[in-house]
């Protein structure tokens, strides 16, 4: 939680990646697409930032990865949420909600 506050941007990306995987296994390209879809095309994650974040999440044990053949017949690396990843997602979402709530309150007070 402390980490989420301290490193908001990276933590946010982590949360978005975890969220996109919560609906099912995806490859890197798919994660970007899913985030774009879910955000109504508002969030466009760069490949250059996706993969380092993805690898870091993998090292933390929140996702697991395997090579498989995509339905187009091309091989791709698929990522899947692990149990601890799911728990992490819940924690991050809760902390994010609190943050949004807090910011909203502050903004309402000043207007």
């Amino acid at each position: 939680m402390a980490k989420a506050k301290a490193d908001l941007l990276q933590g946010t990306l982590d949360m978005l990646i975890l969220k996109s995987l919560s609906l099912g296994e995806l490859h890197g390209y798919g994660i970007i697409q899913r985030i774009r879809q879910l955000s109504d095309e508002m969030l466009n994650v760069e490949q250059g930032s996706l993969y380092p974040a993805l690898y870091r999440i993998e090292q933390k044990g929140w996702v697991s990865a395997r090579w498989d053949v995509h339905d187009t017949g091309r091989e791709a690396k698929f990522y899947k949420l692990t149990r601890s990843g799911r728990k992490q997602l819940e924690t991050q979402e809760a902390s994010w909600d609190r943050l949004v709530l807090a910011i909203t309150k502050v903004r309402q007070a000043t207007t």
Binding site: Y51, P52, H70
Partner: protein
């Protein structure tokens, strides 16, 4: 989990960097293709789709790099790169590497060898249960002599009145004769109270130890064997338990066998001088007063948890003070002390050992300075390479790290070879170590020593690598990249200054070591020159001990020894023969006995004079070359039966009869149950009995019928090599009594040599280290001067071209070297003034600050360094001006 994954990834990246990158690349490309396919689906032409995907993806390589930084890279990988690179550098400069590694190996090896001894003797726990709670209890005599044995009565009082101890046991070492259907043999026995095994907490491997029941009156006589004796005499068979063995002519039942490495040998006041092979119950029954009051017991005890040795000591002194008041005739002015067991075992070697460790530390520092110098030389030839790396964007910290990695590699190589040196050292140490002080058998390259060596090598790597690394990384890019800016550049001067500082420190350290070694050498020579009062040339000695069971009567002892003396004198090649109960310098029980001078007023209890008592025959004096100063020697009649006569030494005569003739006076020496005055018939020369260091004690000599001893040391002066006669002597003894063993066959020179063995050991070791230090500093100064000449080639060429004589050039260089040396010697002498006082206690007949020694070693070092400067100076002298000037 997280750390584990990261570490796993990093390690994988190290081993299979390409495969990791390939994997990332593959993922990126698959991503790209998915996007292209998507684009085509959206209706783009294949080319357009590919172009668009590429653009949206950005720089593929950068993306791969960023991803790789997560999976691999980091400090770890840089380190491995540095190690690979460093290895290549070291391999490329083989000459440099081998000299540096050998230098370090000598320094580190010496260090590890000495540390292994320190570890074994001073750091490792003693092999008993709760060894830190085991203490020795001793009396301190009115003259202040420490570690004295106590009496049964006093032990009983200590035991009853003290509250500091869990267990307390008295013991006394005695030599015993083991007989049976084999050669009679003398074994070392420890007569001990059964509690000694509780104090030490050691279990037998077979049977049992002594039990309190064994100490009950009229209980069966039992014995516990050492592992060694069990193996040697009983073939290591378990059936030995319950068997009888004969000791001093009395049968005892074997009840237990101790483990192989078990021994409890307190050298101080041991009557045998070697570890016990059998343990017997020590009879503590109250009997007559003499039995109660005789001081012959050593005491060991286990402190209760939480009680310190100091507290126990204070309590014991209180008890002893009470004893002094209650029984003044035996205890007047006696005090007591409590010594922790480690202090007892190693107290006298602790200081020399730490000093030796300090000395090898100095040697290692000198080695470090030398290698630092070498690294600086190497850096000169690498200036361009390092400048190039800096120009290509390597940060300074990165370059320092690279250079430090190289030094650490060197240090580790040095320590690997150093372990070999240490191993040799450990093998060699027991050969020169003093046998009587400590056993170095257990010293080995164990894990603590390996760990120490690793620590030392990392530390040395940083010490000798840091200064050069910092220095080199400060190099000015432009100057170094430009060819020719070399000779006069600021860096070269800076490096020369650093080198000079290193060499001056080396010399200063070497001076300190040389001064210490010089002082010890002078002490050793003094020790050899001491007038010890006897002549040890061509003298053989051996001990004959007659068992009480076969020789219960004094008359039998006297007869046996007289007969054996007669046989000795008739042996061919024997010039003279004699005997004494305790040889000079033999260690063991040097006891002091009170006496009265008949006709003088009696002094108050505990304040009377005392003397050293020896039992001899007439042959003893001429055989050891002890002069008869006045009066006469013992007559044949006096050696057959007691006539109440004695000889005294010159020290006693001078002290107690300064103004009168002692001949004809009578002394009552307190060796007997009833007063037994004896007449002084002669005065003989002083002999240093206790040690070469201590003045000769006042001594009284009894002829052996007056004070028959069951054991005597026979001494024979021979025409030639004394050892040649040993078997003949044993044959003669066997002829008198076939069951009689002879032990401790040694020449007097051997006895002498052991008496100075501690001093010799310290001296030899320190001299070795000082020699090594001098050699290393000579190499150091040679390196610096050589480098300096190389730097000044142009300047010297110029000097020669404008008319300087080669001789002047030679002097110029020598002067430069001499300046460094003199500064180093000066600083070293200052340090030596401060440090050599640590040697006090190891020195004999020479002060810690000794002008002769200090001058000698200073001159020696100046001479050595001039020698080391001569080669570079000669090279400078022969520089060809034309070549030098053309050389840019």
């Amino acid at each position: 989990m997280k750390w584990f994954n990261i570490l796993r990834d990093r390690l994988r990246a190290l081993r299979k960097r390409d495969s990791v990158i390939h994997d990332i690349d593959r993922e990126m490309r698959s991503h790209l293709h998915l996007q292209i396919e998507e684009n085509i689906k959206a209706g783009m032409s294949p080319d357009e789709a590919r172009e668009k995907a590429r653009r949206s993806f950005g720089n593929l390589n950068r993306a791969v790099d960023a991803a790789y930084d997560v999976k691999g890279g980091g400090l770890f990988e840089t380190l491995v790169q540095d190690i690979r690179y460093g290895t290549r550098v070291l391999l490329k400069h083989k000459g440099f590497t081998s000299i540096a590694v050998i230098t370090l190996a000598l320094g580190i090896g010496a260090n590890s060898a000495i540390f292994s001894v320190v570890n074994e003797l001073l750091l490792r726990p003693l092999p008993y249960q709760d060894p830190d709670r085991i203490v020795m209890l001793w009396e301190v005599s009115p003259e202040g002599r420490r570690q004295n044995t106590t009496s049964r009565a006093n032990f009983r009082a200590w035991h009853a009145q003290s509250t500091s101890y869990e267990h307390m046991a008295a013991f006394s070492d005695q030599r015993l004769t083991l007989t049976g259907n084999f050669e009679p043999e003398e074994v070392s026995g420890q007569m001990a109270m059964p509690e000694i095994f509780k104090v030490l907490g050691v279990q037998p491997i077979l049977g049992r130890t002594l039990l309190p029941e064994d100490a009950q009156p009229n209980s069966a006589l039992v014995v516990v064997l050492s592992h060694g004796l069990w193996q040697r005499r009983f073939g290591g068979q378990a059936s030995v338990i319950g068997q009888p063995i004969m000791l001093n002519g009395i049968n005892r039942e074997v009840v237990g066998v101790m483990p192989p490495n078990f021994q409890f040998h307190i050298k101080q006041r041991s009557g045998t001088g070697r570890p016990a092979e059998v343990w017997l119950n020590l009879p503590m029954a109250t009997g007559n007063t003499e039995n109660e009051r005789g001081r012959f017991l050593s005491t060991v005890a286990k402190l209760k948890p939480g009680v310190t040795a100091e507290q126990a000591g204070a309590e014991l002194r209180t008890i002893e003070a009470r004893l002094s008041d209650e029984v003044p005739e035996f205890n007047k002015n006696y005090s007591a002390e409590v010594l922790p067991l480690r202090e007892q075992f190693f107290g006298n070697v602790r200081r020399p050992l730490w000093l030796m460790l300090g000395a090898v530390g100095f040697v290692l520092l000198i080695a470090c300075a030398n290698v630092a110098n070498l690294l600086l030389s190497l850096a000169t030839s690498r200036e361009k390479e390092i400048a190039l790396r800096a120009a290509l964007g390597a940060r300074r910290s990165r370059i320092v790290r690279q250079l430090l990695t190289e030094s650490l590699l060197l240090a580790l190589l040095g320590s690997a070879l150093g372990l070999g040196v240490a191993w040799l050292g450990i093998k060699a140490l027991p050969l020169i170590s003093p046998r009587d002080v400590v056993s170095l058998q257990g010293v080995s390259l164990n894990s603590s020593v390996l760990l120490w060596t690793l620590g030392v090598s990392i530390l040395t790597g940083i010490i000798f690598g840091l200064a050069p690394a910092l220095h080199i990384s400060r190099l000015n890019l432009n100057d170094s990249l430009k060819e020719g800016g070399k000779a006069d550049s600021g860096q070269a001067t800076g490096s020369r200054r650093l080198r000079s500082v290193l060499v001056v420190s080396e010399i200063a350290l070497a001076v300190v070591l040389l001064a210490s070694a010089g002082l010890l050498i002078r002490s050793f020579i003094r020790l050899q020159q001491v007038d010890r009062g006897f002549n040890s040339d061509n003298v053989l000695s051996m001990v004959v001990r007659l068992p009480f069971a076969r020789y219960p009567e004094d008359a039998q002892l006297v007869q046996f020894f007289n007969q054996s003396m007669e046989r000795m004198r008739n042996l061919p090649g024997v010039r003279s023969a004699g005997m004494v109960n305790f040889l000079p310098l033999y260690g063991g029980l040097g006891s002091s006995t009170g006496f009265k001078i008949i006709g003088r007023p009696e002094p108050p209890p505990g304040q009377g004079p005392s003397c050293d008592v020896r039992v001899v025959d007439a042959g003893y004096f001429p055989t050891l070359g002890i002069p008869l100063l006045r009066g006469r020697n013992f007559s044949d009649a006096e050696l057959r039966e007691s006539k109440r006569v004695i000889l005294i030494n010159n020290a006693l005569a001078r002290k107690h009869f300064p103004n009168e003739d002692p001949i004809g006076q009578r002394l009552d020496v307190a060796m007997f149950e009833t007063p037994m005055p004896a007449e002084i018939v002669g005065i003989v020369g002083n002999v240093r009995y206790d040690s070469l260091i201590d003045e000769a004690p006042e001594a009284v000599y009894f002829p052996h019928p007056d004070l028959a001893y069951p054991f005597m040391t026979l001494v024979l002066r021979t025409d030639g090599d004394p050892t040649a006669i040993a078997t003949a002597v044993q044959r003669e003894i066997r002829a008198l009594d076939p069951n009689q063993p002879v032990s401790d066959v040694r020449t007097m020179d051997q006895v002498m040599s052991e008496a100075v063995s501690r001093s010799r050991f310290n001296t030899l070791l320190l001299a070795l280290f000082a020699g090594l230090a001098t050699l290393l500093s000579a190499v150091g100064i040679f390196g610096v001067m050589n480098y300096s000449v190389a730097l000044r080639t142009r300047e010297i060429g110029l000097r020669l071209a404008v008319g300087a004589q080669p001789r002047q050039v030679l002097l110029l260089i020598l002067k430069q070297g001499l300046t460094l040396t003199v500064v180093g010697v000066g600083l070293g002498l200052l340090a030596a003034f401060a440090l050599t006082r640590l040697l006090t206690g190891l020195l004999f007949g020479v002060e810690a600050v000794d002008a002769t020694t200090f001058t000698t070693i200073s001159l020696l070092l100046v001479f050595v360094s001039l020698l080391a400067c001569y080669l570079p100076a000669r090279r400078a002298m022969r520089i060809d001006p034309m070549t030098a000037l053309r050389y840019e």
